[in-house]
Symmetry: none
Subunit: 177 residues, 4 copies
DNA sequence: TATGAATGAGTGTTCATTCAT
DNA sequence: GATGAATGAACACTCATTCAT
């Protein structure tokens, strides 16, 4: 990966998340990345290829976090860690997730799933609720993921939203089940 | 409102919600609405004007539902009705709400708010929680709205998502507070 | 001539002279004249017809002034009156003459002639110079008309140009021939 | 400056001066220049940018002629050279000056000035008249410039106008002052 | 006479993409 | 790998003009 290729990726991520994919011309990416416009196409074939590269890059940075959570044995601790994920992830890679959220209508099935399209996590959470004796573990997991999805959206809206109180309330609900 | 003007509005709403605002050319709207392209601009000034007309139209259809909820006196009943709102609203005007959700990056402050940007409702819900003796009424209301926001998003993803179980679980949680 | 038709003519003259013929849409004329756009075409067939009506109207207001000059018997007095014409005419119908001057490239032969395309006047001036014993009466007349043409242009440029001194100098030149 | 860019400039100059700026679509320029329409905007940003490029180009070709006149020491010779300028300039770059004259209403202050918007020349001419002992040097210079302005206009009207006699008469007037 | 909804060809401009160097 | 000139299809939008009422 040459230096210029990385410049392109960084710049594209920033601009896509600020302005949206459609509203960002390749010419602007090239200009702000300090490269020629042709180079973008040499490296990524076309504009969608650049987007795809960005998404797989983002996912690869995400998996470590996810696997760390999945390794947790104590169900209550795992739930708490899942609840902490949105803040952790989004504060870390805000630009990437804003991009992700803006793609619903461009991409097919993938990006539009609940929460962060983290199905392995969903299965683990269902098991947690079962272990903890919840009657309807699946529904309970769905509800939690919906909530975390809403929380993610709020976090990315960039407003002065403070997630801490909500997160505490949410954790409390499951700790004393 | 002439017949052709309404054709334009209907067609635009459908196409915007299917393909997104940016990916829908005015030429396509005109063609599928069976009118000349110029007529769009005669009636709505520019493409954004068409979008604005669509949004204010959608909101005007929404207010009756909202006011009905706000008139409710019993706090538990009001909460239950708020929880029912996403399904009611979205099944009724799915296209409009998919459009609404796709606009975060185009519009300014308005559309990006939580849930359905229904602040009056938020205030009413806070009061409900206070009446019901919840310790942190505001945080509780925020949490509920985040959840309903996530629920709305899931409902609009058009997949075979069945909201009923989640809604029952959510209602149960507040009825026995 | 109905009141609305006159409104159209007035407004068109003002806008054409302010913005130029090409840069003035019929929709603007209609709006500022307080009539429907269709009425313009009912009365004048098309945009060029409106222009033609304006021009012939302007000319008809001009002929009296011209004939008054042509009736003058004394050659020196006639020359002085010719020299006074630009100021008289332009201060009286500035808008019309600015329109006239902006049309060189639109219209054919007519408007692009020297001075105010007043050929009868030209012939009279040639005769004056002959009577006064000028060697090259035709050339002398041409030179005078070129100068008056330049003067007209300067007068219409709307700047703080004071024509009086120049006019005095010009008159003096021919009075003492 | 690539070959195609120059083709665009040449073609635009010709078409603007023949048809006027407004009546010349960029599509026609592109077609007749044998380039794609997009290239015009790549090189000149927008249609006005093309016009501006044309104007500054024309001016840069004009300054040498002007400075040559300004270097003249003998006031009578300088006046004669000033009188010769319109024919020299316009026969040389007719297209450019027709364009220049057609812009009064588009551009701001610059192009609408008297003669060829050559203020340095005006100041030199005033000095000439002072040296030659004319009573009202400024007014005399104004009058000369008005005349040259009218002469320029006549020259550009493309008709079979022969400027030679007028120029001789004009020169004679100042040589025997 | 007068309106105003409606048209459709045309306008300037954008932009992803190609290609010779 | 990298450039930048060049393309051409698409786009939002304008505007003179028509026509039913």
């Amino acid at each position: 990966m040459t230096e210029k290729k990385e410049h392109i990726l960084q710049t594209a991520l920033r601009l896509f998340s600020e302005q949206g994919y459609e509203r960002t011309p390749t010419s602007q990416i090239a200009r702000e990345a300090g490269v020629s416009e042709g180079l973008i196409f040499r490296h990524f074939q076309n504009k969608e290829g650049l987007l795809a590269a960005l998404i797989s890059l983002g996912k690869s940075r995400l998996y470590p976090l996810m696997e760390q959570v999945l390794a947790e044995q104590n169900p209550r601790t795992l739930l708490a860690q899942v609840i902490d994920l949105p803040v952790k992830i989004i504060s870390q890679e805000k630009a990437f997730w804003r991009l992700q959220m803006s793609l619903k209508q461009i991409q097919g099935e993938d990006a539009q799933n609940s929460f962060l399209s983290l199905q392995p996590l969903y299965l683990a959470v269902v098991q947690c609720f079962q272990k903890l004796g919840f009657a309807e573990a699946e529904t309970e997991a769905q509800l939690l993921f919906l909530t975390l999805d809403g929380l993610s959206k709020a976090l990315m809206a960039e407003s002065a939203f403070d997630p801490e109180p909500v997160i505490q309330l949410l954790k409390a609900r499951y700790q004393q089940g």
